[in-house]
């Protein structure tokens, strides 16, 4: 294959560079030319994919929904991380707060993360709406940070934790992976914070392409990613940095995991960038 596959990814952290260097080298060492472009935000990446300036975009779920809706469904999701499937949002509070379910949030301050984060803002708002008779019973406090990164930096979620610890809010919404990381790294005094609600599962990131992309490129990219050996030290390192154990194909079943988000983004008028 002579054409260089051009892949887009968003630089949400300095570690993103070594991740894509490893993937680029992996392809190049095996005779497939691949290069990457770094974007500072997902909106630009979506625009570049839809206008054919890049071949593949490493998209968040929010970016995927936008690509899908803005292109009238003329995009395809090829692959995702095992950890992107059955992703959840978790609501957390202080253990001694008497908040044991969403109903207990009436009259309380509830924190949402970055407005473009599916796990910390967009979907949690939807879950609150579903469980509460009137969403206005809860005082929503928003922690917008790193807009354009779709919550990848996790900053707003850490801000929420801090606000709960300092009693500035009563509870808040974060993604399950951030929650596990907070516990694992001992980011709050033992037992002081607990979860009281776990959402239904949904899907997170995927590699998105235009339907019109050369089938051979789609096939080669998918097969080579799936062939990566997680036990090879350099691959292992990349997978640890990128937070996966293995790549998996995005099938019809996984695509269902984006339905709720699509519906919610339509309701919240988020199909086009509005910030």
């Amino acid at each position: 294959m002579q054409k260089t596959i051009m892949l887009g990814a968003v630089a949400y952290d300095p570690k993103v560079l070594p991740i894509w260097d490893i993937i680029r080298d992996y392809f190049n060492d095996r005779g497939v030319r691949l290069d990457y472009v770094m974007f500072s935000n997902y909106e630009a990446q979506v625009e570049y994919l839809l206008s054919g300036k890049i071949d593949i975009a490493w998209n968040t779920n929010v970016a995927w929904v936008r690509c899908h809706e803005q292109s009238n469904g003329k995009v395809k999701a090829l692959l995702m991380r095992d950890t992107d499937i059955d992703f959840k949002s978790v609501f957390i509070t202080k253990s001694n707060s008497n908040i044991k379910s969403i109903k207990d949030l009436k009259g309380k301050k509830f924190a949402l993360g970055s407005a473009d984060s599916a796990q910390a803002a967009i979907l949690p708002y939807k879950f609150l709406e579903k469980e509460l008779e009137n969403i206005n019973d809860v005082k929503i406090v928003r922690f917008n940070s790193d807009l354009g990164k779709h919550g990848d930096t996790g900053k707003s979620e850490f801000d929420i934790l801090e606000a709960i610890l300092n009693d500035k809010v009563d509870a808040g919404a974060i993604g399950i992976s951030t929650w596990v990381r907070m516990i694992e790294q001992g980011m709050f005094p033992s037992d002081e914070i607990e979860s009281f609600y776990t959402s239904e599962g949904y899907c997170h990131c995927n590699f998105t392409v235009l339907d019109s992309l050369d089938n051979n490129i789609q096939k080669v990219f998918t097969e080579m990613m799936l062939a990566q050996d997680p036990n090879e030290p350099i691959i292992k390192k990349m997978m640890q940095m990128e937070g996966l154990n293995k790549w998996v194909k995005t099938t019809h079943k996984e695509l269902k995991g984006y339905e709720l988000l699509t519906q919610t983004m339509k309701e919240q008028n988020l199909i086009n960038n509005n910030w």
Partner: protein, 416 residues
């Protein structure tokens, strides 16, 4: 795998989702096998979100929760590849513990000592189980035949038993005032000894970090050897400065000889030149010095240093002997090494005149012409003894007599 799906249970009581709980989980999963099911028995009814989330991130499969009598059973199946290729040992008690005398040789770290260290043996040794994905150090000296010497464990114990202290074990205040000519000769000899001891300290130091610690006895012994050499440097320095003299001169030929030894990059060749040829010859020199030193304190420090050097020679002899035994073609390369060194030294073609005169004055007792002449003859005798013993050592490590003769003759006039 034998215990596929075998269920391991851990009891976590009231432990909530916390660093402490996740740490425990991490370790249970680390040492379990792929597809094994780990059951977490907890008093907490609602830690499912966190366990499921943790399992997902780690690539394991959360199987579900069951209510037991006042307890809850959460099950997670390990899906990821094993982190260790084998289980660590247990129920081991080394020999010698009952008698409170456990020696290095009594360690039984592995059933056998492999000819080549495992590729993943990092800064650790036999019996320690390495986690998959640990870095490969690629130690240059990872083959047993390149470094091993059978008596190394015994020599290590001997080295510890025969440690001495250059500050307190020598009767420094009993060194008598000597004739300045004699004292100066002794100071020159001490200067030369210090130079040579530096080579004996630095050369093993150059190789020790290249030796795979799978063969841990070797670096342990070499570190004790280096400690011996440090003590020798200390004691000879003190003697040079003990009696109104001080350090004297270093000759170019000595430095050139030590340099040719120092720059050798091959461990076996270096061991051959340093321990078999150099330190072996040095032992004869020390016997000579011990014999002719005029005072007991200096005799004693020479004697103690010689005892250490003999241990080093024993290590090197067995090391090179077994290396030759494994590969007889090595004789050729050792021969070439010795001749190459001679060629390098021949550019100067001289002996350390200052040292030889000092040795003659020491052996003769003064620089009076008759004493000096007698002393000089004794030094010539010493060289013959050195040559004879060198040949004997070369034959002992597996060379034939003719070759031993040739190589011994090619040895540096600097002795070391």
């Amino acid at each position: 795998m034998n215990n596929q799906n075998h269920c391991i249970s851990i009891f976590t009581g009231h432990l909530k989702p916390s660093q402490a709980l996740f740490l425990k989980l991490e370790n249970v999963f680390l040492v379990s096998n792929t597809y094994e099911i780990i059951e977490i028995i907890s008093l907490n009814p609602n830690i499912e979100t966190e366990l499921r989330g943790w399992a997902k991130i780690k690539g394991h499969l959360y199987l579900g929760r069951e209510v037991l009598k006042q307890q809850y059973s959460y099950k997670i199946q390990k899906i990821t590849k094993n982190s260790f290729s084998s289980s660590a040992s247990w129920n081991k008690k080394m020999k010698g513990i009952e008698t409170s005398n456990p020696k290095l040789k009594d360690l039984n770290l592995s059933e056998e000592i492999l000819d080549k260290a495992p590729i993943d043996n990092g800064l650790l040794t036999r019996g320690i189980v390495t986690q998959e994905g640990s870095p490969h150090y690629n130690f240059e000296l990872s083959h047993k035949e390149l470094i091993w010497s059978d008596p190394v464990s015994i020599l290590y114990e001997e080295g510890k038993n025969l440690q001495w202290n250059a500050t307190t074990d020598i009767a420094w205040n009993e060194i008598p005032n000597l004739n300045p000519i004699l004292e100066k000769a002794i100071c020159q000899i001490m200067t030369y000894l210090v130079e040579n001891e530096f080579s004996a300290l630095y050369i093993p130091g150059k190789f020790i970090s290249k030796i795979n610690p799978y063969y841990m006895e070797v670096p342990l012994f070499l570190s004790s050897l280096m400690n011996d050499e440090a003590r020798h440097i200390e004691v000879f320095t003190k003697r040079a400065n003990a009696n109104g003299g001080g350090f004297q001169y270093s000759s170019e030929v000595t430095q050139r000889s030590l340099y040719s030894l120092f720059k050798e990059e091959d461990y076996i060749k270096s061991s051959f030149l340093l321990h078999v040829m150099g330190e072996g010859t040095f032992v004869d020199l020390l016997s000579f010095l011990e014999k002719y030193m005029p005072d007991e304190a200096t005799k004693k420090l020479i004697k103690l240093a010689k005892r250490d050097e003999m241990r080093h020679v024993a290590y090197g002899m067995e090391h090179v002997r077994s290396a030759i035994e494994q590969n007889p073609y090595r004789i050729n390369s050792l021969k070439n090494t010795a001749f190459k060194r001679k060629e390098f030294m021949d550019e100067l073609n001289t002996e350390s005149t200052m040292l030889l005169e000092s040795l003659a004055i020491l052996a003769g007792g003064s620089d009076e012409p008759d004493d000096y002449k007698r002393g000089f003859e004794l030094v010539e005798e010493l060289k013959k003894t050195m040559n004879k013993n060198r040949i004997k050592r070369l034959i002992d490590i597996g060379m034939d007599e003719d070759l031993a003769n040739d190589i011994s003759k090619a040895h540096t006039p600097n002795f070391m």
